[in-house]
């Protein structure tokens, strides 16, 4: 071991974004644990305040600062670490580390890079060097030509022959990449790719090859292992982040498996990795020919998946190797008796399925391909492929019940959808079976290996067989067991056999459940033990399967265990913050002397780490599976309030089955969740709310809108295309939206709500005990209401609200807490205008902002809430929000650049993929840190403003003046130009994109002549929409920072014009 290193700096990955999500909270947290165990002092830089790694007790010092060379250098200067770890914070940390190395900063401060040397990282990141490295050891790579401009790229494509793949070097998860089948397509792609990188690669297309990955580990003694291999269900051409992935590989012979394994080790040795890396291959489906596609010299999304799939803690081990250990000197963390130098043997199959949220975006292309669009993923474990994939398809939480038994899926042109896959691809295959397409035909269109198609066909055939019956009693026990082994849920059996409609599915579910239990058909609990039962395991990393005949563990039945339901797949609106909540509930349970039981299935989380809960069930959060587990565990109680909306939705059904829910009771949850019941309750309490109605036809809606006045907020229950919610300002817009985007009928009613303009949005996060509030935190949004609370920038404690408003909010929150007899966490959102407050939402569970307020206030609301729910003594926090003399700002991270063609505009539906929370000495210090943390840069040159409606132009007036004062040049479209001119602010007029006149705004964007684009959407008329959309979308495509909200733009401008970068405070969390 490297005894020299006593203090180590670890770089996190910042806000969650598409291509870089929760997996790096898992890897950073494990690395920090490993360092702690060795007595090494740890310093962490990560502005992502919702993560587990930025919690007390994980790192010694935590800086909520941007992961950029400037800030990292500042922290190095202050903390003087001896070592730095670059491979646990994704591409963000890696890129930052390479920059620090190249600028000589690491050398200057004498900071040693632990693990893989930076030179080796550069070898894998620079395509030319990488290929050269592979050539040196006779390893084949995809033929690829690095180009520096568009003409070179065209020439390269001609050399290789179309189709070709285009990729930008040094980019996250395939940003700026795609397939081009002719010169036209190529030119378009390459132009965008060059906006991300000065080097663009043109490569031979290997479409239809199998895609296979290996996770490889090497120590300083040159000992190597491959921890896991994985095979993509989708052929090459679909980004691995967009693919269904199986572990271990399913269609590779021993020779293929070990040929690629041997190559992986050869590569890792030649490059000189110390720690973990991932090698991706393309494998010819008709021979043993292969190409190396990529090597990631760091922990990755795949390594997180491999860790969870095998039980091998890759990040933990990689960190130890960085300190100088050999693999053989470390223990297998699962068995505690055998060595960490081994390769896990699985006796189950793992299936990863991505989760997309494309419906949240208007205009986005739904095709999946070589760049990543998914926002999360699930991992399902089964003993058959069928069990794993059907579990997985339910876990993604988008209404599917498995591969079969789904309704409401309508596919217009099956063959074309098969050939041009969207996020619906797997369900299209089911439709293709229904239509009678042969396996060969489907293979020709999709190039998905026939083995997978045979298996899916088996599921389909079994569903047809079940469909023949009408009553459960007529189906043989053998057939029911076979169906369960093939992953059919009670719901699917209910639907297929009982032919129940959606309305009475709850009953059908129970009926199937009782019937199969009476036949003794129940799942068995198995341990993931890394060695396929060769050695006993001591950790309780568990899953359920119908292939088992006995449980691997014993159940105590002593009422001392508590089940915590996790939050499932990360999605827009629910991500790492609920993992933090779940983990903190678990920690509190452990400390309070209870046995903690976690149920969750998201491989990107800390809550699913093998050593967090006493028992981890890596399984579904469905009613069926949760009941299966509760039947076995017979727990003292179940916590629903720390896992977001999924557990909340189960409340009433679990309650009906007699499950003991801890904290706020299901009836109260139902009163808050049910819009009608909640509204009646508010009326009774005389708490105001915006006027709303549930309506079923257009005329009713129009009448209502006329009554309350436009604009109104429309919330449809069935969405055809585009965003689910919208604000419409007049009759035309209303008509447009209702006709094109949503279905309105008795079956699919629409909720229409009065929309209050220029209102502030204020949230309260609180914990109550038997209806009494024991702790609360109030946050204020920078943006006015109309921007989803998940996208809004939050300030805590609030800076600009009246005392009277605060008093009224507290009173209303107290009334609601009392009326619903809340015990545990809850969140209420209010609109405030002129001291009038209206309730817009109430959740009787932890909210997205719980980690943010807990950490800023340094008072753990989840710990408190868990104690309340357990009825154990707690200390009421003494600190009030008015006593803290610093400020926290939470800002949102958007991933529009990944979502081709999506309109990057903020609205009433959430579109951000992540967030950061920064603490500052004052408001502007905190705003500036937060904005820089989500990728904004301080402008040094030109700024483009198109100010939108007049009140937004007014909002921007003072900040525009500040910009001019510090010498920046303003550019504006016509209306804004005239407005600025009239107010004595100089700017340059640029023409709208559709005016075809120069100077044109679009040329300036394409030539990257702006440092910041501020574009405030005006209204929904077609012409404006098209022009504004073009500006916004181009800014994103050309990687220019974009702000679309005037109040946020102002806050940012005030911040950076008042505070110079060198004056930003560099303080760790504990210094506040």
């Amino acid at each position: 071991m490297n005894k020299m290193v006593k203090k180590v700096l670890l770089l996190g990955s910042g806000a969650l974004k598409i291509g870089e999500a929760g997996e790096f909270d898992y890897s950073g947290t494990q690395a920090l644990k490993a360092l702690r165990e060795e007595g090494v002092e740890t310093v962490l830089i990560n502005p992502n305040i919702a993560t587990v790694q930025t919690s007390e007790g994980v790192a010694d010092k935590i800086y909520f600062l941007p992961i950029t060379p400037f800030f990292v250098e500042s922290v190095i200067k202050k903390e003087k670490p001896e070592g730095i770890l670059l491979s646990f914070g994704g591409q963000t940390a890696l890129n930052c580390g390479v920059e620090l190395f190249e600028k000589g900063i690491l050398e200057k401060y004498n900071v040693e890079v632990l693990g893989t040397p930076v030179t080796a990282i550069i070898d894998t990141e620079d395509r030319d060097i990488f290929i050269e490295k592979l050539n040196q050891i006779n390893v084949k790579s995809a033929r690829s030509i690095a180009t520096g401009n568009i003409e070179e790229a065209v020439k390269a494509a001609e050399t290789l022959g179309f189709p070709v793949i285009v990729r930008a070097a040094y980019s996250l998860g395939g940003m700026g990449s795609g397939f081009a089948s002719d010169e036209d397509e190529l030119r378009k792609l390459v132009q965008i790719a060059f906006s991300y990188s000065s080097q663009v690669l043109v490569e031979e297309s290997l479409k239809g090859y199998k895609e296979v990955e290996y996770e490889v580990v090497r120590d300083r003694y040159d000992n190597c292992i491959t921890v896991c291999n994985m095979e993509n269900f989708d052929p090459l051409g679909i980004h691995t982040g967009e693919s269904i992935v199986l572990a271990p590989s399913q269609t590779l012979t021993n020779k293929e498996y070990h040929k690629l394994r041997e190559l992986s080790i050869k590569i890792i040795r030649h490059i000189g990795i110390i720690g973990e890396c991932n090698v991706q291959y393309a494998l010819d489906p008709d021979s043993e020919d292969y190409r190396v596609i990529e090597v990631n010299a760091r922990l990755s999304r795949s390594s997180a998946l491999a860790s969870k799939a095998t039980g091998y803690p890759l990040a933990f081990i990689a960190a130890k190797l960085g300190l100088g250990y050999g693999l053989h000197e470390l223990k297998n963390e699962i068995t505690k008796t055998t060595s960490a130098f081994f390769e896990p043997a699985l006796d189950y199959v793992v299936c990863k399925i991505p989760r997309w949220d494309l419906n949240k975006f208007s205009g986005v292309t739904k095709q999946i391909g070589s760049s990543m669009k998914s926002v999360g993923e699930v991992m399902a474990i089964g003993t058959t492929f069928e069990e794993a994939i059907q579990k997985g398809l339910r876990m993604i939480g988008q209404g599917a019940h498995g591969f079969v038994g789904n309704r409401d899926i309508e596919i217009e042109n099956i063959e074309s959808e098969l050939a041009n896959p969207t996020e619906m691809r797997i369900f299209v295959i089911e439709k293709a079976f229904e239509k009678g397409l042969s396996i060969d035909r489907i293979y020709d269109l999709t190039k998905i290996n026939r083995w997978f198609l045979y298996k899916l066909k088996g599921i389909y055939d079994l569903s047809s067989k079940l469909g023949i019956y009408d009553s459960l009693e007529d189906v043989s026990a053998g057939l029911i067991l076979e169906s369960k082994k093939k992953g059919f849920s009670d719901f699917q059996l209910g639907r297929l056999i009982l032919k129940s409609s959606t309305d009475d599915m709850d009953d059908a579910n129970i009926q199937v459940r009782n019937h199969r239990k009476s036949l003794g058909i129940v799942p068995a609990v198995r341990q993931i033990d890394t060695l396929a039962a060769e050695y006993p395991a001591v950790t309780n990393y568990l899953y359920l399967t119908y292939a088992g005949t006995k449980h691997d563990i014993d159940f105590e039945n002593d009422g001392r265990s508590v089940v915590v339901l996790g939050s499932g797949a990360y999605r827009i609106g629910s991500s790492v913050e609920f993992d933090w909540c779940g983990v903190n509930a678990i920690i509190t349970l452990n400390k309070s002397g209870y046995r903690s039981v976690m149920i969750n299935y998201n491989p990107e989380t800390v809550s699913t780490d093998y050593d967090v809960a006493d028992r981890l069930y890596f399984d579904e959060l469905s009613f069926e599976r949760v009941m299966d587990i509760i039947d076995l565990e017979n727990p003292g109680g179940t916590i629903l309030s720390t896992g977001g909306q999924i557990p909340n939705n189960l409340a009433m059904r679990l309650h009906k089955e007699g499950v003991k829910v801890l904290g706020t009771q299901p009836h109260s949850i139902d009163r808050a969740e049910n819009r009608h019941k909640f509204s009646m309750m508010l009326d009774d309490l005389k708490i105001d709310q915006p006027v709303w109605q549930e309506l079923t036809d257009f005329d009713e809606i129009l009448r209502f809108a006329d009554d309350v006045g436009f604009p109104v907020l429309i919330r449809p229950s069935y969405v055809l295309s585009g965003a689910a919610m919208n604000v419409v300002s007049n009759k035309d817009e209303l008509e447009h939206f209702l006709k094109l985007a949503v279905k309105v009928s008795k079956k699919y009613p629409v909720v229409v709500t009065e929309f209050i303009e220029q209102a502030k949005e204020i949230e309260i996060d609180a914990v109550a005990d038997k209806g009494e509030i024991v702790a609360y935190a109030m946050c204020e949004h920078i943006e006015f209401a109309g921007v989803h609370s998940g996208d809004a920038t939050m300030v805590f404690p609030p800076q600009k609200i009246y005392f009277e408003t605060v008093r009224r909010i507290k009173k209303a929150a107290r009334q609601i807490a009392g009326e619903l007899n809340i015990s545990g966490p809850f969140n209420i959102q209010f609109l405030a205008k002129d001291n009038d407050i209206k309730v817009i939402e109430c959740n009787l569970r932890a909210s997205r902002s719980f980690p943010f307020v807990s950490k800023v206030l340094k008072s753990n609301f989840i710990e408190l809430a868990t104690k309340v729910m357990l009825n154990t003594p707690y200390e009421k926090p003494s600190k009030s929000i008015f006593e803290i003399d610093y400020i926290g700002v939470k800002a949102s991270q958007f991933s529009f650049s990944r979502l081709s063609k999506a309109d990057p505009v903020l609205g009433v539906d959430m579109s951000s993929t992540g967030e950061v929370g920064c603490i500052g000495d004052d408001y502007y210090d905190a705003v500036l840190k937060a904005m820089l943390s989500v990728g904004y840069r301080i402008p040094k040159g030109n700024i483009m403003i198109s100010g939108g409606p007049i009140r937004d132009k007014l909002e921007l007036l003072n900040s525009s003046r500040l910009l001019v004062d510090i010498g920046l040049a303003l550019f504006a479209t016509k209306g804004t130009f005239e407005f600025l001119n009239a107010n004595g602010i100089p700017s340059t007029l640029l023409h709208w994109p559709d005016e075809n006149k120069t100077p044109n705004v679009i040329d300036y964007i394409r030539n990257k002549q702006f440092d910041l684009v501020i574009n405030i959407p005006k209204n929904l008329t077609q012409g404006e929409l098209a022009n504004d959309y073009t500006i916004r979308r181009s800014a994103i495509d050309y990687n220019i920072p974009l702000i679309t909200n005037a109040r946020l733009a102002s806050a940012f401008i005030y911040a950076f014009t008042r505070i110079a970068p060198e004056d930003i405070s560099i303080k760790s969390w504990d210094e506040y």
Partner: protein, 358 residues
């Protein structure tokens, strides 16, 4: 799925596991062992070391890529480790009747039927493995409802005699003459030698090796208890008195130990997997190895002239030995892999180097 015939695995301890047939319809008896490899069922099933054994695969999905045909390179089957299936029976969890691979010729079930080997799927192979782990390897039989069979303990027989060839055969025409004592050799061992400029003279286990001119002596893997393989031990005693390089794999390693005067013993449930970690004694170098053995060398019984070469990182058992002064070494694991990891194939080079030096 078409013919769901229920068949049973009955263990010596009375436990019964019931599943469905996917192979040949015939009751069999043997010793039940488990293997935790995730790939390589054609290789495992044709490995002569499994002779007399009923094999349990802990990896549940089997048959996915079918089984390749009988293609041969010269006299050696290209995709098999011997000419026929060596196991008595095959026990798995989930059988894939439909398969997909460019080099597949048969489904696994059809192949088993062709070779008259029974197969069971639908077994809780994890529970079965736990029984074998806790109670140790035991006898078992596969029975059909109406047909039973006597128990059979393969360890009482000279299994090597059953799998060893009856006469000598020569392969290749390379520089170095390797005399290979075939106790049940895997084809890939011969392939590994032939890749290294050798002539391989493959002889029966009881062959009088004094009759042959050779540069290096190799003793192969094979089934059963090494102590019953007396003729080979006798031959080795003579070879070890000599100076010519000797290399033994698996059973070959145990036989070398016995010939040197050391002892062997039966492991509780053996090592049968692709993920066994071994460490080179006295060094920090470790390798992942492919293994298939039920007996091991007792390294405490080694005399002063011998020392352990490799040890198992998990349980500390002997994974190979070497002579302190003469060019003799052995491995308990399988450097030729097939199936399994190829990390230690360099040992064949080491052997050739020893030949070149001597």
């Amino acid at each position: 799925m078409r013919d769901k015939k229920i068949i049973k695995l009955v263990l010596e301890n009375g436990m019964v596991f019931s599943g469905f047939s996917f192979g040949y319809d015939k009751p069999v008896a043997g010793e039940v062992v488990f293997n935790t490899a995730m790939t390589g069922y054609p290789e495992s099933l044709t490995d002569p070391s499994y002779f007399g054994q009923i094999l349990v695969a802990t990896y549940p999905l089997v048959g996915n890529y079918g089984v390749p045909g009988e293609d041969a390179d010269g006299d050696i089957r290209k995709y098999y480790e011997s000419d026929k299936i060596a196991v008595k029976g095959f026990i798995i969890s989930d059988y894939s009747a439909e398969y997909s691979h460019w080099n597949a010729k048969y489904s696994l079930g059809d192949w088993l039927k062709m070779q008259k080997i029974p197969g069971i799927y639908g077994i809780d192979t994890r529970a079965l493995t736990q029984v074998l782990r806790e109670s140790g390897t035991m006898l078992g039989k596969i029975v059909f409802d109406d047909r039973d069979v006597e128990w059979y303990d393969p360890n009482k027989d000279n299994l090597v005699a059953a799998v060893s060839p009856k006469k000598k055969q020569v392969y290749g025409n390379g520089k170095h003459r390797i005399l290979l004592i075939d106790c049940g050799v895997k084809n890939n061992i011969i392939r590994c030698f032939l890749d290294r400029d050798t002539t391989v003279i493959r002889v029966p286990y009881d062959y009088d090796i004094q009759k042959e001119e050779y540069d290096g002596l190799f003793i192969s893997n094979g089934p059963g208890d090494p102590e019953v393989c007396l003729p080979t031990i006798k031959s080795l005693e003579k070879a070890l008195a000599d100076e010519k390089p000797v290399f033994g794999i698996c059973l070959g390693s145990q036989l070398m130990a016995l010939a040197s005067g050391a002892g062997t013993y039966k492991l509780k449930y053996g090592h049968r997997s692709h993920n066994q970690p071994v460490r080179r004694v006295g060094e920090d170098r470790c390798y992942i190895t492919s293994q298939n053995h039920g007996f091991a060398v007792d390294d405490n019984s080694l005399n002063d002239e011998w020392e352990p070469l490799f040890i198992n990182v998990n349980d500390g058992t002997c994974e190979g030995i070497r002579h302190k002064s003469k060019p003799f070494f052995s491995t308990q694991f399988h450097p030729e892999a097939s199936g399994g990891p190829t990390d230690t194939e360099f040992l064949f080079d080491d052997f050739i180097n020893l030949i070149e030096k001597s």
